[in-house]
């Protein structure tokens, strides 16, 4: 069974469209994350949810909106897509957040978004 899964794996769309990426984890974790990996392989956190509550919201355009319907799912919706949004988006999860410990994160396989 896949621990952290994302759909779709590839997403090709035109500028101005709205798209969503879905993420699910079956590890029983409380915390989930979205990362963006650019063309130079640099990874940066975008958002994090702990028990469905937003705990990290980096400097990301408000065209990006995460939604966590339950602890096992964290979706990413992107409005009015731009060329610069082309990247690989990774979902991740960890057992918890804070609590005096830094928990390792488990990553999904990534979604390669190409905006034309």
């Amino acid at each position: 069974d896949t621990a952290v899964s994302q759909t779709p794996k590839y997403l090709v769309t035109q500028m101005g469209n709205d798209k969503s990426i879905k993420c699910e984890q079956n590890l029983g974790h409380d915390t989930m994350y979205w990362y963006k990996q650019d063309s130079k392989k640099f990874l940066k956190i975008m958002f994090s949810y702990n028990n469905k509550e937003l705990i990290i919201n980096e400097t990301v355009p408000n065209r990006f909106s995460p939604k966590s319907p339950d602890k096992a799912h964290l979706n990413l919706h992107i409005n009015s897509l731009e060329l610069g949004d082309s990247a690989v988006y990774f979902c991740a999860s960890s057992q918890d957040w804070g609590q005096g410990y830094t928990y390792e994160q488990y990553f999904g396989p990534g979604t390669r978004l190409t905006v034309t």
Binding site: V4, K41, L43, S48, G98, Y101, T102
Partner: protein, 113 residues
């Protein structure tokens, strides 16, 4: 700002020879440190982590890393490289409970036959 520096963007070794991937962190509090590996077109996999227990950390696939506070380093090593080790490696730091993970810029490891 707290950061992590991977000193080499590319490392090339011959199969069967040792691997050394270098990582330095900016010193402030006691960090938690991780190494992740990303094979082509794959997600990231945790190799090992340091969270203030033993300074020599053993990970999966024969990798290990040593936390050296005096040098603010956390270099990744492996005695003998395999072709399957060819991948991108990320050194990652977190400073305390509740801090996000900050990724290094990555080191691409190539393994020559």
């Amino acid at each position: 700002a707290q950061s992590v520096t991977q000193l080499d963007s590319h490392v090339s070794v011959s199969e069967g020879t040792p691997v050394l991937l270098r990582c330095n962190y900016s010193s402030s509090y006691s960090p938690s440190l991780f190494w992740y590996v990303q094979h082509p077109n794959k997600g990231l996999q945790l190799l090992l982590k340091y969270t203030s227990a033993a300074t020599l950390v053993k990970g999966i696939n024969g990798f290990e890393a040593e936390f050296k506070k005096s040098e603010t380093s956390f270099h990744l090593t492996k005695p003998s490289a395999h072709m399957s080790d060819a991948a991108e490696y990320f050194c990652v730091v977190s400073y305390g409970s509740g801090d996000k993970l900050t990724f290094g810029t990555g080191t691409r490891l190539a393994v020559r036959p």
